[in-house]
Structures are given as structure tokens and as C-alpha cells.
């Protein structure tokens, strides 16, 4: 009871700390306390300097007054003896919403919302909230503040995690002080993300849309400053501009998004501070190249419950590998020379933070550096290093007291002082009661009393006689102690009730009086004797963790090293050249330096890997003109009729397993298209299937720019459900008008830029119209999703009258009806072999479409639009023989040379010709046969897939899986920690708002 009272008093004393600035009117009598606090006999750890032993820390008010081994303690000082304890600076939490109002997401309406519903002259888009200032919204939150203090934090960088532009973050003290005194620095950074948060406005509906929105907003802010502000008022852009001088802080959800974020930054000469996801180690080289500073979480994945072999199949190798490697992230980032701070964000309870630091320490990462990443580094990153982060004279008195070395698993966080305010988890000034004591009861011989303290208030005691123990009732409060000893061991059938006080702390000694069963009074004394021997089981805990290897990508079928270019000769194969030579029998092909070097017979094999092509077929790689693999965060920006500003190339995912699967189907290149939900969609990404590389390296250097258009039911929203009937266009009539309107706007835009008069303001840069201007000036090429002849005809008229040529109609299932007109326009066709009946507009689709268009002289390709079918495009090509009777050679071109032509890649790809890229496939049969399987697939002369290698990778997969599962099961035995269920991965959702988006 007394102890409770004492704690309550303590809290009351320091609780007053919710005081206010001294000049505020006060109700009552002033209670300011001009005293010092000194902490003596402790080890003081300074991340920016030496560690001091047996040192003093002196504080006054909220500041550090002095620190060192030889300092004078002024009069008027409360002195705490912290013998054996350690002092560290309190941690800085660099990413939190502490003190921010809870975000409530308004319920999304069933029908779409195309414009902002904010009142006030804010940005046109609800997701741009650059005007939000966290410091203006900040309020102290006693519970979460205490929770963070109890975890060791003294300062926080707090922001509103809502929106693509989130306004500014603030640096606040976590001390229990008034809101007015809490703000250390009002604006420390301007914050961004690619998540639109609580915005109910439809745009952006995809990650590429969010990127486009951010880029446009940056350009808008520049234009606004230079004159746009004379035309209208935009509070958000005003704030954007005034925040430009601040640090720029970007939250991402994985390593690839981190690369995307800094790519945006590079466009505007900004180095971001990036709040990462903890998987940065998986792309270390590229992460390093960003030059960004990182804030990384320590929420390593929990063990998975893999006791059921069936459900454990749900946990993929990639997930298992990340479980094993996540704790090494900090170590690996540091080894690569990347600057970062640590955050507790993502932990279920911030109190786990210290435990996680200890795990990081077991990865071999230096303790000093770990502590810097929680203190001096975040302070420096956010420009508050003069205030906090270290223990120096004049800095905020933010420090924690730990019972021992912080990294010792037995050590406890006892107190956290923030701005000079004490926060007690366990009173550091009270001694450690643990130990074996000699208990003298009156004149009886000394008995052995064991006191065990397992945490604040959790004390138990035992009488120990030889190897037996008897529980003793014990209560310690402040310095007084009570014991009730029922002595059954020594068989004299007596009990003792004892009361006393601690009379010495070193060694701990209690003295007092007591009575026995007969009511006789006597004096007693208990003196600390020794630390009892305990079974050593803590040793395993501090062992260095074993690190697995990182694969590229870090999942099934990843490799320890990305394959390299080779010099290879394919000997004696049947070679499908796609050139005038036709199909050459018994021919050798030499590939070297990524190119086809020679085609002939009996070529010199010196220095080459020789692949026997006898009985096998060598072709150029398949090119998929219409694909949606390897895209993150939605393939459609459905939310406006014209979204020419979005770019698939911004959101490549080089870790999509479909890349590897399609290499195994002979595919070497693909056009990744935007979806088909709006008349003018986004820009394509042209990639080669280079399995293992980082996203940017998938791109085909120097490739022409393409853009997706779409016609018909999808853009009319015909199959989107009854809530989607308000966006223009709702009929084919409107589709035409959208094009004319867009292109007239683009023409005017072009005109404006070409005719800037001196002294006039720079016009607004518009990413959407700029893209359309590229089309008008034949610098970007159009691939149009199309079905019915009427709309195909219409779009050719639009293009003719606006003065550009359409490049490709994709799907084009009624192309056969207007093949003559298409030929006249000079447009190509990329179609399906045999799809139909999936919607009204394809009821007259026929599988002879490709053959008819081909016979009419149109360049025809067959595409997949489907991750599975893409790996059987050779079979699809063969259907052009079945339906329409094409020759084998012509049919084969449907998936190789013709798509290369449609994508303007035929100067380097699409055929086996000396000088072209060594993108070749060796097949076990005629490639047009259903029985054909690729044996080797080369891209740029690099063997990214081979059957032999695939067999080895499968074994590697199995071994890795078994190894990590065994490790996890062993850990399950040893640490009985909480586990997560072995749940099934949801495949990445490749659409934005409804299922129709992926429809062909």
C-alpha cells in the first residue's frame, strides 16, 4: 500500500509537469522548482562520444547542465545514486502520428466522385494536403505519450499520415508537459506518399496515378509561384511552395517503391528522406544509388506457425527468406554505406523496440551504431541535433536509465527522463533486491533466504535449506519490509512474522523485530550474501544470428547472382530466321556480347559454350505486344477519361514471377500496357524479361514511346455496374468527342508553348497534354484497344484529321471487317487467336481475323493479355495455321517479327540476323507444335532460363524452404513467442476499382 501511495505521489509530483509557460495566468500558488538533479555512479553512454564510467549527469529544469566524471554538484541538488546503472539518451521516434487527430475515412460512396468535395480554395485533388501542418494539429496524448516514454523514446517526428501530399511534420517532445512547450521544431519536413489516404475522390486510382499526381503538383507549384497565383488561389500550392525549403519526407511500402520515390525526387532535384519498409536489403545496390536517407522499421516478421504441413504450403519461400533476413536489414544498409535511422513504426507495441535493437545487435551490427540510429542520426536527419539525440550540456534532458547494458537481454529500462521530467517504470534509485540473504532470527543460527525480483513489484522469497525451498510471504515498499516465514523445513513447527527496514543499501541489509508462533518478540536481521546460481540459459540468446543468402529476386526461382552475358554457340540447329533465308537446317548460331554474331555452318567454337542444337529449333524470342505482368499498384488509371500523364514505366515490378514463367515459355520482350477503361489511357512500358534485375533495368533502352487508347464497352463503362453511368463518355458518340476535345486541347497547348511572348508568364506545364502533343508530332505511338468495326473506322478518321497515324489496334477483333481501311491508314493489328463471346461487342469475333488481316497486307501479331497464355504464345501462333491456313513461317512471325515491327523494335529484335540482339530460344520441337518446350531462353545473350538451370533452381528452392522451416521449428521450441498463421498470399490485385478493369 505504501509503495502504491509512493508511486502515486511520484506521479503527482511529476504529473504537475503538465504545467504551462510561466507567464500564463495561474489559478493558485506558483510551484516552480529551481533545483538540480544529479545522477551519480553510472555508466553514461554518449552516441556522439566516449562512454563515461562512474560518471555524473547534472540537469536543471529541462536541460542538461553538466556531464562528466569530475563535476561539481551545486547546492540545491537532488542526488540519485545509480550504482551499476547505465544512462543513454532517450530515443527519437522519427515516424509517428503521435498527438495527431485520429484519421477517419469517410465511407466511399457507391458511385464515383470525380471532383474534390473539400470546401475552401484547396487543391483540386483531395489527396494533396500540403497545407496540413502537424504542429497546428498537435495535442499531447497522455496515454500514447507515456507508452512511447515507457519504450524509451523522448522525442518524436509526428505527421498526419494521410494523402499523397501530407503537409509538414513536426518535432515534439514526448515529455508530460504542456502542448505549448512540446513543440521542439514546428516544421521539420514536408511529407509525401503514394497512398491517397482518406480522400474519397477517385483520382488517383492507381500507384502510377499517384506518381503522376505528385509530379504534376510539383510542376504546378513552380508555375503557381511564377504567375499562376495571379490567376487563381490555391492554398495547397501556396503551402507546397513555402514547404520547399524543408526536408522532404516520403513514406513507401517496399523497396521498389523507394526507388520510384527517389526517381520522382531526381526530377525535381530533391533528395528524400524515405520511410522504408524494412526490405531495402533486397536491392541494396539500387537503394544505395538513390542517395536517399532512410528511416527503417524494426518490425521483423514473427515466426509462422508451420506445424501443419498443408497450411504451411501457403507460406512462400520469399516470405520465409524475408523472415530470416529482415533483422539483417540495418546491418546490410550500414555495410553498404547507407545512412538510416530506426523507427518503432509497425511494432504492435513500441515497448518491443529495445528487444528488436538487441536482435539487430545479434546480426553483427555494432552497438554504438545501433544507438546512433535511434538518437543522433534521426536528430541530425530532422535538424534537431542541437536540441536532442545526445547527452551534452545545453541539450534537452532526455535520457533513459537502464539496469545494465541496454543490449544485455536481462537489462531493464527503469526510467526515462524527458525534458527533465521523470518517468518511472521501475525506480532506479531503489536497489536490486535479488540475492541470497543470511537471515538471523533472534539467536537462532543463520538461515538462507532467497529474494527474487522479476520486475517492478514482482518480488518473491523462499527459505532455502539444502535443496528444498519454502515460499515466504514478502512485501517491500520503499525501505520497509514485511516477511511471513512458515518454517516447515527445520521441523521445529514455528512461524515468524517480521517487520523491518532497510538500513544499508550496500550491501543490502534489513533489520527489525518480529514474533513467533508463541507471540515472543525478537530482533531479526537479513544481510545480502551472494547472487544465487541460476541455470545458464541466456547464452543462446546473445549468439550471433545466422544469415541466409539474398537471392535476386529474394523469392522462389531467385538466384544468388544475376546471370551474366555469355559467348555461346548453338550447334547444328534448325534455325527459324524470320528473314529471307527462311528456316535453315543444320545451322550454327554464335551469340557474343549480347548480339547475334554469326550464322553459318561449322562456326568456330573457341571460347564458347556449345549447345547442341541437333534435332532442336532455334528462334528469335517471342515478343508479347499486349501484356500486364510486372506491374505494381494497378494497371488502370480508370478515374478520368484521359490519363495520358500516367506511365506504366513508373510502376514496374521486376519481381513478378510471371517474368520467369514466361521466359520458360520463350518470351523475351513485352509491351506492358495500361488497361482499357478510358479512351486515352497511360503510357506503356517496353521491357525485356531480364529475371533478377532491378525494375529500371527491365526497360528497353531507346525504345519508342507508346500509349494505350481504348474504345467501346470498357470506356463507356458498360459493364461496371449500375453506379457507373455518369462519366463521359457513355456511348460511342462520346468516345469520338473525347478524342477531338483532347487533341484540340493538345494543339492549343502546343501553340501556347511555341508562342511565348517576352515578359509573359511561363505557361503551365501539363503532363497530360504534353503526352498528347507527342502523339500529334509522331513522337509517341498509339496502341488502341478496339473491337467493333465502327469505332475502328472512327478512330482512323480522328487520327487522319488530326494529322497523325495510329500505330496499332490491339484486340481488333472486327479488324477483318475493315481490313482494307486499316491497310490504307497503315495501322498494324495485335489480336487474339480465338477469343470471343466474352462481351456483346465481340459476338462477331472470328479466329480467322488474323489470317484475313495478314492476307490484306496488315502487320499482324497475336498477343496474350494474359499471364498464363503468354507462356504459350507459340501455340497461339499455330492457330493461325488452323484458322486461315497460314504457312508455318508466317504464323511464327505473328509472335516474333510482327510484334517487333509494331513496337518499332525490329531493327534489334524479331529475327535471327547478324547484329540483332541475342534474344533467342532453343526449342525441343518445332516451336509451333503443342509439344514444343523451350530448353534455353537468352535475352541480350544472357541465359535467364534453361531447363537444366530450372531443375537446379527447383532443388535450391526446396533446400532453402526446408532449411528455413527447420530453423523456424527449432525457434518455435526455444522461444515459444507469438506466431502468425500460415495464411495464403493474396495475389497482387492488378486493378484499381473494379473487376472490369482487367477485362480484355
Amino acid at each position: 500500500m505504501i509503495k502504491k501511495f509512493l508511486l502515486a505521489t511520484l506521479f503527482a509530483i511529476y504529473g504537475i509537469a503538465y504545467c504551462q509557460p510561466s507567464h500564463f495566468p495561474l489559478n493558485g500558488v506558483r510551484d516552480e522548482r529551481p533545483v538540480y538533479y544529479a545522477f551519480k555512479n553510472c555508466t553514461i553512454f554518449r552516441p556522439g562520444g566516449d562512454t563515461l564510467k562512474n560518471a555524473y549527469l547534472l540537469i536543471k529544469g529541462d536541460r542538461i547542465e553538466a556531464i562528466g566524471q569530475n563535476i561539481t554538484i551545486p547546492s540545491g541538488t537532488v542526488v540519485y545514486d545509480l550504482s551499476g546503472k547505465f544512462i543513454y539518451p532517450s530515443f527519437i521516434e522519427p515516424f509517428t502520428s503521435y498527438g495527431m487527430p485520429a484519421a477517419s475515412k469517410p465511407e466511399r460512396q457507391a458511385s464515383p466522385q470525380y471532383t474534390s468535395e473539400r470546401s475552401g480554395s484547396y487543391s483540386w485533388n483531395e489527396a494533396l494536403k500540403s497545407e496540413v501542418d502537424a504542429y497546428k494539429l498537435f495535442s499531447t496524448q497522455p496515454d500514447s505519450g507515456k507508452n512511447l516514454r515507457d519504450a524509451g523514446f523522448g522525442t518524436a517526428i509526428s505527421l498526419v499520415r494521410d494523402g499523397v501530399a501530407r503537409g509538414t511534420a513536426t518535432a515534439v517532445s514526448l515529455a508530460p508537459i504542456s502542448v505549448h512547450q512540446s513543440i521542439i521544431k514546428d516544421k521539420v519536413a514536408a511529407c509525401y506518399s503514394l497512398n491517397k489516404g482518406t480522400s474519397t475522390q477517385d483520382y488517383p486510382g492507381s500507384q502510377m496515378g499517384a506518381i503522376a499526381l505528385l509530379r504534376q503538383a510539383w510542376y504546378d507549384s513552380q508555375w503557381y509561384e511564377k504567375g499562376g497565383k495571379d490567376l487563381y488561389n490555391d492554398i495547397s500550392l501556396e503551402a507546397w511552395n513555402s514547404n520547399k525549403t524543408l526536408r522532404q519526407y516520403f513514406e513507401v511500402s517496399d523497396k521498389q517503391m523507394a526507388l520510384r520515390a527517389q526517381k520522382i525526387g531526381d526530377e525535381f532535384n530533391i533528395k528524400f528522406i524515405i520511410k522504408g519498409a524494412g526490405d531495402e536489403y533486397q536491392r541494396l545496390a539500387e537503394i544505395k544509388k538513390t542517395g536517399s536517407t532512410f528511416i527503417i522499421p524494426v518490425n521483423f516478421p514473427e515466426n509462422y506457425d508451420l506445424s501443419d504441413p498443408y497450411t504451411s504450403l501457403n507460406v512462400s519461400i520469399g516470405v520465409l527468406k524475408h523472415w530470416e533476413l529482415a533483422p539483417f536489414n540495418a546491418y546490410l544498409l550500414d555495410s553498404a554505406g547507407i545512412s538510416f535511422a530506426l523507427t518503432a513504426d509497425g511494432l504492435k507495441d513500441p515497448k518491443e523496440f529495445i528487444k528488436q535493437l538487441r536482435i539487430i545487435n545479434r546480426t553483427g551490427f555494432d552497438r554504438q551504431k545501433i544507438l546512433q540510429a535511434c538518437t543522433t542520426i534521426p536528430a541530425r536527419i530532422f535538424g534537431i541535433e542541437k536540441e536532442t539525440g545526445d547527452l551534452k550540456k545545453g541539450m534537452l534532458a532526455n535520457f533513459i536509465i537502464v539496469s545494465g547494458d541496454l543490449f544485455d537481454p536481462e537489462s531493464e529500462l527503469m526510467e526515462n527522463w524527458t525534458a527533465g521530467k521523470r518517468n518511472v517504470l521501475k525506480d532506479a534509485t531503489t536497489p536490486d533486491y535479488n540475492g541470497m540473504y543470511t537471515l538471523f532470527l533472534g539467536r537462532l543460527p543463520g538461515k538462507q533466504l532467497l529474494i527474487e525480483e522479476k520486475g517492478p513489484g514482482n518480488i518473491s522469497a523462499f527459505m532455502v535449506h539444502d535443496s528444498s525451498r519454502t515460499a515466504v510471504t514478502i512485501s517491500i515498499s520503499g525501505k520497509s519490509i514485511m516477511l511471513f516465514v512458515n518454517d516447515t523445513i527445520s521441523s521445529n513447527d514455528d512461524f515468524y512474522r517480521l517487520s523491518g527496514n532497510m538500513i544499508s543499501q550496500n550491501p543490502i541489509t534489513f533489520e527489525g523485530t518480529g514474533t513467533n508462533k508463541k507471540g515472543q518478540w525478537f530482533n531479526w536481521k537479513a544481510a545480502w550474501d551472494s547472487i544465487p546460481a541460476v541455470a545458464e540459459n541466456g547464452e543462446e540468446k546473445s549468439e550471433t544470428l545466422e544469415r541466409g543468402t539474398i537471392w535476386y529476386p529474394n523469392k522462389a526461382y531467385g538466384r544468388i547472382a544475376i546471370p551474366q552475358q555469355e559467348q555461346v554457340i548453338i550447334r547444328n540447329a534448325t534455325v527459324w530466321t524470320n528473314e529471307s533465308d527462311g528456316v535453315l537446317k543444320n545451322t550454327d548460331v554464335l551469340i557474343k556480347a549480347g548480339k547475334i554474331q554469326a550464322i553459318g555452318q561449322n562456326l568456330d567454337t573457341i571460347g564458347c559454350r556449345v549447345l547442341d542444337g541437333t534435332g532442336k529449333h532455334l528462334t528469335s524470342g517471342i515478343i508479347d505486344e499486349h501484356s500486364h505482368i510486372a506491374i505494381t499498384g494497378g494497371v488502370n488509371e480508370c478515374t478520368q477519361s484521359v490519363t495520358a500523364e500516367v506511365r506504366i514505366g513508373d510502376v514496374l515490378n521486376s519481381e513478378d514471377l510471371n517474368i520467369y514463367r514466361q521466359l520458360a515459355g520463350g518470351v523475351t520482350a513485352a509491351q506492358l500496357l495500361h488497361g482499357s477503361c478510358n479512351p486515352i489511357g497511360g503510357q506503356s512500358g517496353l521491357i525485356k524479361l531480364r529475371w533478377g534485375v532491378a525494375p529500371e533495368k527491365l526497360k528497353i533502352a531507346g525504345a519508342s514511346g507508346f500509349i494505350k487508347f481504348a474504345l467501346g464497352e470498357n470506356v463507356k463503362q458498360s459493364n461496371w455496374g449500375d453506379n457507373y453511368n455518369s462519366r463521359y463518355p457513355q456511348s460511342r458518340m462520346g468516345v469520338e468527342q473525347i478524342y477531338y476535345d483532347a487533341f484540340w486541347r493538345a494543339r492549343e497547348y502546343e501553340h501556347t508553348w511555341k508562342n511565348i511572348s517576352k515578359g509573359s508568364n511561363t505557361p503551365r506545364k501539363d503532363l497530360e497534354l504534353e503526352t498528347l502533343v507527342e502523339i500529334l508530332s509522331s513522337k509517341r505511338f498509339v496502341t488502341t484497344h478496339s473491337y467493333q468495326q465502327g469505332e475502328i473506322n472512327m478512330l482512323m478518321h480522328v487520327a487522319d484529321s488530326m494529322g497523325f497515324k495510329l500505330n496499332t489496334f490491339t484486340h481488333i477483333l472486327e479488324g477483318y471487317k475493315v481490313a482494307d481501311k486499316m491497310k490504307a491508314h497503315g495501322v498494324g493489328a495485335s489480336t487474339f487467336s480465338d477469343w470471343w463471346a466474352y462481351k456483346y461487342e465481340v459476338i462477331e469475333a472470328i479466329p480467322y481475323n488474323g489470317a484475313i488481316m495478314d492476307q490484306m497486307g496488315i502487320v499482324v501479331a497475336y498477343n496474350s493479355d494474359d499471364a498464363e497464355m503468354a507462356r504459350r504464345l507459340n501455340q497461339e501462333a499455330a492457330k493461325a495455321i488452323k484458322y486461315g491456313g497460314l504457312s508455318e513461317e508466317e504464323a511464327w512471325k505473328f509472335v516474333t517479327l510482327n510484334p517487333a515491327k509494331l513496337l518499332h523494335l525490329d531493327d534489334t529484335m524479331g529475327s535471327i540476323k547478324v547484329g540483332k540482339d541475342a534474344d533467342v530460344v532453343l526449342w525441343n520441337h518445332n516451336p509451333l507444335s503443342v509439344y514444343a518446350i523451350p530448353l534455353y531462353t537468352f535475352v541480350d545473350g544472357i541465359c535467364y532460363y534453361s531447363k537444366v538451370d530450372d531443375d537446379a533452381l527447383k532443388i535450391q528452392n526446396e533446400n532453402e524452404r526446408a532449411r528455413i522451416i527447420a530453423k523456424m521449428m527449432a525457434k518455435k521450441e526455444s522461444d515459444k513467442g507469438s506466431e502468425q498463421m500460415a495464411t495464403e498470399d493474396e495475389p497482387e490485385v492488378k486493378h484499381c476499382i473494379n473487376k472490369e478493369d482487367l477485362n480484355p
Binding site: 480465338d834 495455321i881 488452323k882 486461315g884 495464411t983 495464403e984 493474396e986
Partner: protein, 438 residues
Amino acid sequence: MNTHNKIHLVITSLFVFGTNLFTSAQNPIPAKTSQEKTILFTDAVLHNGKETYESGILGIAGGKVVLSGDAKLIRPDEAAFDTVISLNGKHIYPGLIAMNTTIGLNEIEQVRATHDYAETGVFNTSSRALIAYNTDSRVTPTVRFNGVMLAQSTPQGGRISGMSSVFKLDGWNWEDAVYKSDDGVHVNWPSQVVKRTSNKEDQTKQIEKNLQELEKLKSFIAEAKAYSQLQQPALINLQFEAMKDVFIGNRRLYVHTNHVLDIASSINFFKENGIKIVLVGGQDAWRLTSLLKQDSIPVVLTNIHRLPMREDDDIYLPYKIPAILKNAGVEFAISCEGFWQVRNLAFHAGTAVAFGLSYDDAIAAITSMPAKLLGIDKTTGTLLPGMDATLIISKGDLLDMGSSKIEHAFIEGSEIDLDNIQLKLYNKYMDKYQLNQQ
């Protein structure tokens, strides 16, 4: 090489159907049973649904196969046949049988008015594909064009979707077209697999919900079983009535499920209830071959052309599953989901051959095996004497798209018209552009 000097069959075909190619938007006229002729096919590569005879011979009469086999061993009386046709090495196959399709129940995927494959509600045991089947679907002739002669039209959705029926893909009306009525009840097994979510509470909720769904099905089956024992129920429950034949083994129970966890538990559950199921989907079936073999559970593999369920899987796993099941002694059929897509059924089987299944087993997986699973194998699915003369003649290998070309097709001895809307449109535009067919 036509050594018999008899009429070439192509002429027969053109004679019967070769009219109004460019004018009619209608489907072809169903075959007349009066067409049934006695025909002897010689010099054929005969695939009878079980094995192949490189030099095969097949005789049909009265709508049935009357002789079939190795030409070197059989010496038929040619005079007994109206027509003798030498096929010059072309291939004869049994008409393909497509299981688990929505043929006749779905006309245009995204036009709701054309959908008749899913009823509202959870337990729809009694709803019947039979009477919803549209013989005049524009899609059916395009599927027939590639050799599919029989199809199981199957309801979808709900916990119990309803009853499928097996149809000949030719006929004036559903009564005329049906081959086996109400052949099976289709159950979508309530999966117990938990999906990854960001918070653990959602996962706990999922577990509860999954269990509830399972309990609902379990009590439905228990009560249906009890009901089936009533001589005269106090009231008629249509859902339970439809289950009666399942309990006495006169109607198949098809269980649609894929995850190993669910396959194992569904087999055990129905076994406890005395029902031997047919597994549909069964992507994980290859992990449970000993259980499937021991309990003689056959599998309908829906779509060989699919991506593996899991990233860690063999990238070609779906292509390899048929061979794995075959080697393990598990019975299976290959099917192809959907309606228009079913025209590619043979190519799914072809891919299975590329990945280790024998050619004859691949043909069996789309002919004799589906017949067996559907319980129609006494009359169709193979071309052994006594069986229906339901067959197709292909110029080349049926399983390989580059060579597959069905020139003639017969259902129960009557030749059917292979024309379809797509062929009509092809001819119409080839004519418009004055192009030559290659």
C-alpha cells in the same frame, strides 16, 4: 489413296449442307437420324479412346460402332456397308466429351440476360441445367467444330450449385439433345484456407466464418441423408429430394475444390456419409495421390493451361499434373472451364502430352475417362464395337493446333454440320476482299 473407289465423304458433306453459306445467320440444321448410314472407314489412324491403331479400321451401322481395330487383324465384309471410305491416314477419334462447362447456359459473358448458369441462394441442389440448356447457342457449333460432341453443362455458384446434365452438342431442343439427365450434383466445398490480412483479428474472423460455412454444409448433408430415409415425408423439400439419388449412388456428387487441406477433408467427410465423390478442380490433388487411389476418387482437372497456385510451385506444374496422376494410378479427366473456351479442350490435353502424359492417355482424358466419370461409359467415350458411333475425323493430330482440322463429325452415327457463325463470317469477308482460302 482411295483404293475402294467409293464416294469421297467430303462430297457427302457438301451435298447435304453446302447451301446458303452467305445468307443464313442461323445455326446449322441438326442432323437427321435418317442419315444413319452404314459406313466403313479404312486406312485411318484409329484412336479408340484407349489405344491407337496406326492402320485402323472402323465400321458404323445403326448409330453404333460395329467393328473397330487393327486393319491387319480384321477382314470386314465391305459389301455389308453402304459406303467405304479410305481416310488416307487421317485420324479417327471418339467425339470429345467436355466436363464441367457452361455450354448452353451462357451466351455472352458480360451480358447478364444471357446467363443461366447460377441461381441465387446457397443450397440449390434441385436447380437443373437440363431445362436451361439452349440448343440454339451460337457458341455451340464453334465448339463442335473442334471435335467436342458431348458436354456436361454445369450450374455454378452457391454452396450447392445444382444439377448438371450431359448433352449431345446437336439437337432441336433440350429433350432431343440430352444424353444423360441430371447426372450430378455440384458442391463448392467451403474452403478452410485463411487468406493473409493485415491484422490477426480478420484472420480469426475468417476461421470462424470458414467453420460456420462448413457446419452449414455438414448439417445440410446430415439432414438430407435423414430425409432420404423417410418413406413419406410430411412435406416435400426439393433440395433434399434431389439428394436422394446421391445417397443411393444413382447420381454423382461433384466436389469442386483445389487446396490440399480442402481436398483431404472433403473426401473424408463424404466418405463418412457413404458418398464417393468426383473431385473437380483438384489443383493440389497430386499431393494426395495415395488417398485418391486408395478411395478410388477420380479427378476432373479443370484447365491444364493455368498458372500454378503457388509461387514456389514448379512453374509448369499444372501442365505436369496429368502425368503425375497417371503415374500414381489416379483416374482423371481433363476439362476446360467456360463455354466458348471449350473449343480448346484438345489443346489442353496436348500440353499434358508435352509434359509427360502418353498420347493415348491424353486422348482417354478427353473421351473415355470423362465418359466413365459421367457414368455414360457403357455407351460412349470409346470406339469399341457396340458403342455409339460418336466420332470425329481429323486431318492431322487433334491435340496439336497446327494440324488439328476436323473434317467430319458424327453423333450416334449421324453426320453433323460443322458450319458455324465464324466460318460464315470468314467466308463472307474472304468473298468481300476476293481473297483465296489457303
